[in-house]
C-alpha cells in the first residue's frame, strides 16, 4: 500500500478552456519555430531520428507538433514510485497531493537569519524529522554543504544520509556525474529515486543534465525536470508568456524522455518565479507564484501528466510574519489547484536557507490546508435540523450532545503547534511563540523517532559506493 497523501477533490480552475488552448498552441509554436538548445550530441541524434529538425552547429532542436503531442500521450497519467519499504511507495497522479522538502543550502539561525554551514549530523537530524512527519511524503534531504566534506562529495553524501535515515522516497540531483552514485545507491537498497533535472532558461538544457536523462531513463527512474524561469529575466515578464516558455522547455525534455523510453514516468515541475527587479534574485515568496502555479497545475492536469508546484519558500530571511504569510498564501492557493507534489517544506529564504523547525511548522500548514480540501459535508446528519429542534433557543446548548462528540473532531483541525490557549494560560505556560514550540517538537521527534534502519549489507554497500565516488573524483582531479 503506497502512502496515500492528501486528496484534492474538485481542483480549482483559473484558466478558461480558451486560455488553455492559446497557451498550448503558443507552446507548440515555440517548440516548432524557435526551438530549444540541447547541448548533447547523442540527444541531438536521437531527436533527429524521431523527426525533429536539428541545427547541429547551434545544437538547436525544432520539435514538430505531432511528435510533441504524441509524446505527451505516451507519458503515464499515474504511476507508482518504489520506496525501500512498500508502505512508503508513492502513487503519483489523479487527485493525490504529496508534500516534499526541497532543502536549502545552509541552515538558518532562527533569530538572526544568519546562514550556518551545516554538518552531516545536521543533515541526519533533518532527515529523521522528515521521516517522522506524516504530512511529509517524499524528500530531497535538507542542506547542500557540510563541514569537512569536500564540495564534490556533498551530494553523494547527502543521498547516502537520506537513504540510511528515512524510508521515504528521495529525489536525486544531477550534475558532475552525481546521478551515477545516486542510482547505484538506490539500486543497492532496492528502491527508486526521483530523477530531478535543472534547466537553464531560456530554452537551453546543459550537457550534464541531458546526460542524466540518459542515465535515469536507462534504469527507468521517473524524470522530474524543473526549468526555473525568472520572469522578466530568463522568460517574458508576463505570466502567460512564462507559462508558454516553461511548457516548451519541459516538453522538449519530455519528448527526449519518451523517445528514449516510451512510457517513462514524468512529473512536470514548475519552479518559475518573478525576478526581483532591484536585486536580480528570484522572488520565491511572491504572490504571483500563486497565479502562475495554479495555471501551471491546470495545464498539466489538462495533459493528464502528474504535476509539481514549488513556491513554498519565502523572501524573508527569518521565520517571521512575512515568511509565514508568503508560505501560507502560496500553499493554500496552489494546492487547491490540484498539483500532485508541492515543494518545498522547511525552506525559509529562497532555496538558500532551511530549518527542521520551519519544517514542522510547514507540516502544520499542510494539515490546515488538508482540512480545506476535505470541504463541507452536507447531509441530514450534518444539517442536524432534528437536533436544532431538540436543543431549541437558550438555555439549550450543544456541548453535551452525542452529535457534538461525534462531529467536532471531524469538523475542526486540531493544531499541534498553533497557540489556542487563553491569554492567562499562555503567560503561565511561559509566553512562548510558535517557533519556541516548534523547536521543542523537533527535539521531541529527535529523542523518540527511530527510522527503520537499512539492513547491514545495504548500509555497507552505500559506504562502498561513497568510496568508489571518492576514488572517481580523486582520479579526475576534482577532489
Amino acid at each position: 500500500m503506497p502512502l496515500r497523501g492528501y486528496t484534492v477533490s474538485n481542483p480549482i480552475n483559473i484558466l478558461t478552456e480558451d486560455q488553455i488552448e492559446r497557451i498550448h498552441c503558443a507552446t507548440l509554436e515555440i517548440l516548432e519555430t524557435t526551438g530549444v538548445v540541447i547541448q548533447h550530441k547523442k540527444a541531438l541524434e536521437v531527436l533527429e531520428g524521431a523527426g525533429c529538425k536539428i541545427d547541429h552547429k547551434k545544437q538547436l532542436v525544432r520539435f514538430p507538433s505531432y511528435l510533441v503531442e504524441e509524446c505527451l500521450r505516451r507519458c503515464p497519467s499515474s504511476f507508482t514510485i518504489k520506496a525501500r519499504e512498500s508502505k512508503c511507495d508513492l502513487r503519483f497522479g489523479g487527485r493525490t497531493l504529496y508534500f516534499m522538502p526541497w532543502g536549502g543550502m545552509d541552515m538558518v539561525d532562527l533569530n538572526t537569519g544568519a546562514r550556518i554551514l551545516t554538518t552531516t549530523q545536521d543533515e541526519t537530524e533533518a532527515v529523521i524529522v522528515i521521516d517522522a512527519l506524516d504530512e511529509i511524503h517524499t524528500h530531497y534531504g535538507a542542506y547542500f554543504n557540510y563541514q569537512g566534506v569536500p564540495p564534490m562529495m556533498s551530494m553523494p553524501v547527502k543521498t547516502a544520509i537520506g537513504l540510511k535515515n528515512s524510508s521515504k522516497v528521495q529525489s536525486g540531483v544531477c550534475g558532475f556525474d552525481w546521478e551515477i552514485w545516486q542510482i547505484k545507491m538506490a539500486q543497492a537498497t532496492n528502491q527508486e529515486l526521483i530523477g530531478a533535472l535543472t534547466g537553464s532558461p531560456p530554452l537551453t538544457w546543459g550537457e550534464a543534465v541531458i546526460e542524466a536523462v540518459f542515465r535515469y531513463t536507462k534504469v527507468k527512474f521517473p524524470i522530474f525536470p524543473t526549468s526555473g524561469q525568472a520572469w522578466g529575466g530568463s522568460s517574458p515578464a508576463t505570466i502567460a508568456g512564462s507559462l508558454a516558455l516553461n511548457n516548451a522547455e519541459l516538453m522538449s525534455v519530455l519528448v527526449l524522455t519518451q523517445v528514449l523510453n516510451p512510457g517513462n514516468r514524468f512529473v512536470a515541475a514548475d519552479y518559475s518565479q518573478p525576478l526581483g527587479m532591484r536585486t536580480g534574485q528570484a522572488l520565491l515568496g511572491a504572490v504571483e507564484n500563486a497565479l502562475a502555479g495554479m495555471a501551471f497545475a491546470q495545464m498539466w492536469r489538462h495533459y493528464r501528466i502528474p504535476v509539481s508546484l514549488a513556491a513554498n519558500s519565502s523572501d524573508s530571511k527569518v521565520p517571521d510574519y512575512q515568511c509565514a504569510s508568503e508560505k501560507a498564501i502560496n500553499t493554500v492557493t496552489q494546492c487547491l489547484a490540484g498539483p500532485n507534489l508541492f515543494l518545498s517544506a522547511g525552506a525559509v529564504y529562497d532555496e538558500l536557507t532551511w530549518s527542521p523547525v520551519v519544517l514542522v511548522m510547514d507540516a502544520e500548514i499542510y494539515g490546515m490546508v488538508a482540512r480545506v480540501f476535505n470541504g463541507i459535508e452536507v447531509t441530514d446528519e450534518t444539517l442536524a435540523v432534528d437536533l436544532i429542534e431538540e436543543v431549541g433557543p437558550i438555555p439549550g446548548h450543544y456541548l453535551d450532545k452525542a452529535h457534538t462528540r461525534k462531529w467536532w473532531k471531524k469538523e475542526q483541525f486540531i493544531p499541534v503547534l498553533a497557540d489556542r490557549l487563553s491569554h492567562a494560560e499562555w503567560v503561565k505556560a511561559g509566553s512562548k511563540n510558535i517557533v519556541d514550540r516548534a523547536k521543542e517538537r523537533v527535539q521531541q521527534i529527535l529523542s523518540t523517532h527511530k527510522p527503520t534502519p537499512l539492513p547491514k549489507d545495504q548500509e555497507k554497500a552505500i559506504d562502498e559506493i561513497l568510496e568508489e565516488a571518492t576514488a572517481y573524483y580523486r582520479q579526475k582531479g576534482m577532489l
Binding site: F144, G175, F176, T198, T204, G233, S234, Q281
Partner: protein
C-alpha cells in the same frame, strides 16, 4: 554638429535605444567627433540611469536596457579611440564570466551593466567559461578585477578550479578576484581565497570600488 551628435548619443542611452545608439556612434565617427567626448557622453548618460537605479526610481530592466544600448555604441567608439591613439579613462578593467558547467548569464549581465554604468571597463567573456579560458582572458585583458559568477551551488565549486589555475600560472596575485551569486556565501568566498564577495548585483559595484581602493 558635434554637440548635436553627442546629445543624440546621450539621449539614445536614456531612451534604452540600442539601434539609435549604434547609429549615432557611427555618425560621431563620420563627423570626426572626439571619441573621448563620445565615451564621456555615453558614460554620463548611463551614470544618470545608474543614479536613478541607486535612488530606487529606476529598476533592473531600465539599467540593463541602458547598458545594452551603451554596449551597441561602445565598440564603434572604441575602434575610433584605438585608431586615433587616444586614451580612455576608466575606474578599472574587469574580466567577467560565468564558470564552466553553468550557462546562466542574467546575473552576470546585471553585474556587467552596473559596473559599466559606474565607470568600469568590462570584458564580458561569456558563460560556461573553463579555468583555462579565464586564465587566457586574464593574460589578454590584464584586468584589475576578475569577477566570476555561478548561479547554481554545484557550479560554484568550479571557482576553486579557476583560482587554482591562476595560481599555477603564477598570475593569481595580478588580479583581485570577486565572486558572487545567490549560491555563494562569505564562508565559501574565504575558503577559495577570493578577495571579495557580494551576493547581489547592485552590491557588486561598491565591492569593485573597494577592491580598487576607490572607496
Amino acid at each position: 554638429m558635434a554637440a548635436e551628435v553627442l546629445e543624440k548619443l546621450r539621449q539614445a542611452i536614456l531612451d534604452y535605444d540600442a539601434e539609435g545608439a549604434a547609429r549615432w556612434a557611427n555618425k560621431a565617427v563620420e563627423e570626426k567627433v572626439d571619441p573621448i567626448e563620445a565615451v564621456n557622453a555615453l558614460t554620463e548618460a548611463i551614470r544618470v540611469v545608474g543614479d536613478g537605479f541607486g535612488k530606487g526610481e529606476l529598476w533592473l530592466p531600465d539599467l540593463v536596457g541602458a547598458a545594452t544600448a551603451m554596449k551597441s555604441a561602445m565598440p564603434i567608439i572604441e575602434k575610433e579611440i584605438l585608431r586615433t591613439g587616444k586614451k580612455r579613462e576608466t575606474l578599472g578593467n574587469v574580466v567577467l564570466g560565468t564558470v564552466y558547467g553553468d550557462i546562466h548569464d542574467i546575473g552576470k549581465n546585471m553585474v556587467g551593466s552596473l559596473l559599466t554604468a559606474n565607470g568600469f571597463t568590462v570584458y564580458d567573456v561569456g558563460i560556461n567559461i573553463t579555468a583555462a579560458e579565464f586564465v587566457e582572458a586574464v593574460k589578454k585583458y590584464q584586468p584589475d578585477i576578475l569577477a566570476m559568477s555561478a548561479l547554481m551551488q554545484m557550479t560554484a565549486y568550479e571557482q576553486v578550479t579557476v583560482v587554482e589555475a591562476l595560481k599555477k600560472e603564477g598570475i593569481r596575485d595580478r588580479v583581485k578576484i570577486m565572486v558572487g551569486g545567490g549560491a555563494i556565501t562569505q564562508q565559501f568566498a574565504d575558503m577559495i581565497g577570493a578577495d571579495g564577495y557580494e551576493p547581489s548585483a547592485p552590491g557588486a559595484v561598491s565591492l569593485a570600488k573597494k577592491l580598487m581602493g576607490i572607496m
